[in-house]
């Protein structure tokens, strides 16, 4: 009737947000909706995201998901951002369906980051 809303994975990621923070001089994407504010920043070298950081005003599920995304994509080519998959993240972390909207904000932030990197590259 009142079960733990947080999976062990969510709890671990939330407790240890190694990728929280900003990258001065990096590229960033930002999105805000559903009471969630998210920012993803990256240092990009040779088309790869050598560092990824997030900032969030959000519930634990979003924070955990953002932390996971950073550690997943850090070191990988920018193009891999396309692989971001809301459903899979929710499944991996055991995020309840009611939170789908908020995880979509993360998806939008990822897109926004991809776009910003693209923009900077084009520029």
């Amino acid at each position: 009737m009142n079960s733990d809303p947080y999976s062990l994975k969510v709890r671990k990621l939330f407790a240890n947000t190694a990728h929280a923070g900003d990258i001065p001089g990096g590229v960033s994407g930002f999105y805000e909706d559903q009471g969630v504010r998210l920012r993803l920043s990256a240092s990009v070298t040779d088309g790869a995201m050598t560092a990824l950081r997030f900032q969030a005003w959000a519930c634990p599920h979003v924070i955990a998901a953002a932390e996971m995304v950073c550690s997943l994509f850090e070191g990988r080519p920018v193009a891999d951002l396309e692989l971001f998959n809301t459903a899979q993240i929710m499944d991996d972390l055991g995020i309840p369906v009611e939170k789908t909207g908020r995880i979509l904000v993360l998806e939008d932030t990822v897109r926004s980051l991809g776009q910003a990197i693209q923009d900077r590259t084009d520029h």
Binding site: W57, C59, P60
Partner: protein, 387 residues
């Protein structure tokens, strides 16, 4: 999930553990007096004396006559019985009822249900501290007002209402006055002989008694309709086999409270002071409720720019309340704090610390550390607060 002994429980306004003396009394009663107090035999009569004794204990705590209580399953039932019972009983005289927006759900939702049945309810707003002004109260009363229900101590902020004055006004106008005393009975001095109150609700588990039992005080001459039917128990106003052991537990908890009310209050006052001093130095923290004069067992604070759900998780193993105290399952910002003029943003970060008999100075120190650390952590994560 952390193990029970790591937790720091500061949610005593939601519910309290059983006092050891109360537990002992219940064990005794269980062994000697399990019979139905309505049964017409020696065992039944012994159970009846146990119930009577509990009535005496509760009456001593609240300074009234033992015969004026109905035993219920808790304050929710007492509130429902009192409010619906009076509204229906007096509906031929008028259908106007008065209450506040900051009442507990167990009052608010009863009035909402009555509204659907055609009653006309005035919902009064308190000031920013949570206090209802006497002028506003008087202005709301009408010739056809039959019932006023105002809580004694607010469960989210600890704010007191001036029930002596409000009740006095009701009395001169012949309006029935109900008080939800769930957060007051057994916790602060209550003198039902002196107070102009017609109905007073309480629940044992808020003052170290068992869960599942409460009482409704009904002043002489106040007539209500029952909520349930069956059997002649309790003057037909509340049927069902009396839960002897629970009632004895309520009585014992009342006796315990009576003997230590002052001590409890001094203890809580010192702890609240310590907590407040430790917390108010954190930038952006503001207290919800009166700056002074509130019940010392409750401290409700909001903090700027912090997301409430993450705050709660970051606070673990601290067990405190967010949102509406008694039904924290819903994550909506507290309607009580919004009625006090708090923004959604402020209300959603609100944390209610509620302290109890077992709380120590060390607990408070730990709570302060946990709170500060959580705020610092979440701020460090938030966009716009990083350096």
């Amino acid at each position: 999930m952390s193990a029970a002994n790591e937790w720091l429980y500061l949610d005593y306004a939601a519910t309290t553990p059983l006092d050891p003396n109360v537990a002992e009394r219940m064990r005794e009663v269980r062994q000697t007096s399990f019979a139905n107090p309505a049964s017409n035999h020696a065992a039944g009569r012994l159970s009846a004396t146990v119930v009577d004794q509990a009535g005496v204990q509760l009456a001593e705590l609240l300074n009234t006559d033992p015969g004026r209580f109905l035993w219920t399953s808790g304050a929710t039932e007492s509130n429902n019985l009192a409010i619906t019972g009076v509204a229906k009983q007096r509906s031929h005289l008028g259908r106007h009822l008065v209450t506040m927006r900051t009442e507990h759900k167990a009052v608010v939702d009863v009035f909402r249900a009555l509204e659907k049945q055609g009653f006309d309810v005035s919902w009064l707003l308190p000031d920013a501290d949570g206090q209802l002004s006497v002028e506003q109260f008087e202005a709301a009363l009408r010739d056809d007002t039959q019932l006023v229900s105002i809580m004694h101590v607010n469960n989210e902020t600890g704010c007191f209402q001036d029930i002596a004055t409000l009740g006095g006004i009701c009395r001169t106008r012949g309006i029935t006055f109900h008080v939800d005393g769930a957060q007051a009975a057994g916790k602060v001095p209550v003198d039902l002989e002196a107070l102009p109150v017609d109905l007073y609700s309480m629940t044992a588990h808020k003052f170290y008694g068992p869960k599942g039992v409460g009482a409704l005080y009904i002043a002489d001459g106040t007539v209500i309709e029952p909520l349930m039917f069956g059997g002649g128990q309790q003057r037909r106003l509340r049927p069902g086999t009396l839960a002897v052991e629970l009632i004895a537990g309520l009585g014992a908890a009342a006796a315990e409270s009576a003997s230590r009310l002052e001590t409890d209050l001094l203890h809580l006052t010192a702890l609240k002071q310590q907590l407040l001093l430790g917390i108010e130095t954190i930038e952006g923290v503001c207290v919800n409720g009166p700056k002074s004069g509130a019940y010392p067992g409750i401290l409700n604070v909001s903090v700027a720019d912090i997301e409430g759900e993450s705050l709660l998780l970051a606070l673990e193993p601290l067990c405190v309340a967010t949102g509406s105290a008694c039904n924290s399952q819903s994550q909506e910002p507290s309607y009580v704090l919004r009625a006090l003029g708090r923004s959604d943003m402020e209300a959603q970060s609100a944390v209610r610390f509620s302290l109890g008999r077992p709380t120590s100075k060390a607990d408070i120190a730990r709570a302060i550390d946990l709170y500060r650390a959580a705020v610092v952590k979440l701020r460090s994560i938030a966009p716009g607060h990083t350096t």
